[in-house]
Symmetry: C2
Subunit: 196 residues, 2 copies
DNA sequence: CTCGTTATTTCATGTCTGTTGAAATAAAGA
DNA sequence: TCTTTATTTCAACAGACATGAAATAACGAG
């Protein structure tokens, strides 16, 4: 008949912060940002709500910490720019995106990020800058030629279309197609934007 | 020193319902769904909060009524399927989308709808069915041939990419390009998906 | 080992949001 | 004129996030 958990610091050295972060990640991935309440997370972590504010400041802060990206999406795309073979560039980028966004370990967080970029102004700003400076710009420099920036923009738009239809909105038939089919259908279009 | 507004029905026959709807539309378009509170709308309309529930049931209901679409987006795209000229189909659809989504009178509501489809499960379901049944299916039937459905899916994905990058996320350079430039950059890719 | 300091934790409270039921008032109709 | 109905505000609730105070354990200096 010990009193469950009294006030004050707990015995031992439990990493409560990480406990909270893990609970939050699970909830956010399963239910999305809006649907999850701090009390849900606190309940899962076996902790009072106020402790979340203590560690993370706000719900936004918690989301940021819980969803810290396992990979830098910009890097995933841009890495392929090193390879000098321009003819296969579209396919390589496409496959990278499909791999990373489809991976159960990394994909869900990236998908949540994309959804967040639509809702939250701060996240939107962040994505806009990241995509503009780190992706579109570099692609433009890489492909060169007339209208390089516009063509890079078109390329980005098509990639965004894939991500939103397949992973965020989950529109059929794109959402259920196997990677090879996606590549077959989209590679020519993407390559056209890159190739000039 | 008349008491401002007492309880009970007002004199005259003011269309309070429409007043509320207009105030809500302005707010939703300016600030988005989450950021707008029912008390904001009630304040703008000079009305008690409870009256909103009386007329619209819930915040969702208010949003639905305020954002009732001025045009059916599906129709905008599908209308062009009547014209037998397949070679210009991509360009015609593209220009229709750019016109309707860019029109200050109709565009903002469509943009809000797209953002809502990412956040709200009900809206998501709605959009998924509408796009799947009314757009992708019909395009597939129209273009025919092998992989017709997959190619129609790819077409839809690219259109979604345009809408999200240009109107929702507002990524540069796509967001600032004039319609002619957008058409020049994307028509070939879209036509490739349609053409087989 | 002891005692002040610091980090962690819950409690209590405040403010804000959407929603609901009751009461008041004007319009509509017999 | 008088009953019924539609419109409107008031009052209150449950649940959300956030914050300041209080309690308690760990830590470190001597």
């Amino acid at each position: 008949m010990n009193k469950p958990v009294r006030r004050g610091r707990r015995a031992g050295a439990p990493d409560t912060r990480e406990l909270i972060r893990d609970a939050a990640r699970a909830r956010f991935l399963a239910e999305g940002y809006q649907a999850v309440t701090l009390r849900d997370v606190a309940g899962d972590a076996g902790v009072d709500v106020a402790l979340i504010s203590y560690y993370f400041g706000s719900k936004q802060g918690l989301f940021g910490a819980a969803m810290a990206l396992p990979v830098n999406p910009a890097t995933v795309v841009v890495a392929e720019l090193e390879d000098p073979d321009v003819d296969t560039l579209a396919e390589r980028m496409l496959r990278n995106v499909l791999t990373v966004w489809g991976d159960p370990a990394t994909g869900p967080q990236l998908q949540a990020l994309a959804a967040m970029a639509v809702t939250d102004p701060r996240m939107n700003e962040l994505v806009r800058e990241a995509v503009g400076n780190e992706i579109t710009q570099r692609i433009a420099v890489r492909i060169g030629g007339a209208d390089a920036e516009q063509r890079a923009g078109a390329f980005t738009a098509q990639m965004a279309g894939l991500i939103f239809t397949r992973y965020v909105l989950r529109l059929e038939p794109i959402a259920s197609m196997v990677p090879d089919d996606v590549v077959r259908q989209l590679r020519p279009a993407l390559q056209a934007s890159l190739g000039g």
